[in-house]
Symmetry: C2
Subunit: 196 residues, 2 copies
């Protein structure tokens, strides 16, 4: 998506040859118009898949996921990173998600009430790097005996192995912006032929 | 808002005479269509206030806030509950927010880059009870020398003192659903005359 690539170049900040900071429009301050435009791309890509539910993980997945859910006119569910007190009485699906950036492992939790075996789930997240968050969400979809129909990602670090790990499970990924390299603190993109 | 009150009655669950669980449509699974309808009410209410920014707090404020931001065509900023590693290098506004439900005090954090003294801020949150989250967000707006123009709340527990604490600061609150009592695990509403 050209608009997103332009914003990554203009407003993103790279450091340590690996970290891309996009907190001015994607995950702290959020550009609402950009979110809607991105949601439209996911909708076009997945609209024939009979999606019944959008699944994401708190916190920065929520904004894109709710915009997507609004276009599909289906509910959005977000996985919580620890077990809140109001979930205690209920049966939950859980998965372990390791964050390499923060070097912590979180338990992510979704109430069993909100995904069932009829569901065709579209997973939305802001970043795909090592793929641990998406794999954790797919694990929860599996526990519910539902189907992960696809994964929609705003920014993919294609030089890390998240995409491969997800494609190994025969799940289709739509990434709006694929970054080939951040070496020398410079953003280089993978751009598909039909996007040039 | 009649639709929201109906959903609170139909799908909400009350326990301990005080806790209202609305996780099937408001803060775990989220009804996207309802979110949009609620955002429209806030837009109508505050549309003449020259809002420049929507401010909320992770995680369950994000979905309504981004929908509102989309209608106002302004950025949304969400306060984080702890200091993430990617914020470390930057100057931040912080406030202390005590959660009576969870009995923890969180430091909430917003990068100084994203609110400035020109900003006219609309604060959005899912719940208003003791008002601590909203007061923390208002404290951050104050630190930025910006103006809190109003507060938009999905569900207000009117029997707790959040509304009074905010109104004492001469800030206008628009609550879509005001709950007068949860005694005997039964929901009773405050309904304004023009809403009946």
């Amino acid at each position: 998506m050209k608009l997103l690539r332009e914003m990554v170049v203009t407003d993103g900040k790279v450091y340590d040859n690996n970290v891309l900071k996009v907190d001015s429009f994607l995950n702290h301050q959020i550009d609402a118009t950009l979110m809607l435009e991105m949601a439209k791309v996911f909708y076009e890509y997945f609209k024939d898949e009979k999606i019944t539910k959008i699944l994401t993980i708190e916190a920065s997945g929520i904004a894109p996921a709710i915009m997507v859910a609004n276009l599909f006119k289906v509910p959005m569910v977000f996985a919580k990173k620890s077990k809140p007190s109001t979930l205690k009485d209920n049966a939950v699906f859980t998965a372990q998600v390791h964050s390499y950036t923060k070097n912590v492992t979180n338990t992510i939790v979704v109430s069993e009430k909100f995904i069932n075996e009829e569901d065709k789930v579209l997973i939305i997240d802001d970043f795909l790097a090592n793929g641990q968050a998406v794999l954790g969400l797919m694990e929860i979809v599996n526990q519910a005996r539902a189907t992960t129909v696809g994964v929609g990602i705003l920014v993919e670090k294609s030089f890390q192995d998240g995409r491969k790990l997800i494609e190994d499970k025969q799940v289709n990924i739509c990434s709006l912006c694929r970054i080939a390299s951040l070496e020398n603190n410079e953003v280089k993109f993978n751009i598909a032929d039909d996007e040039k």
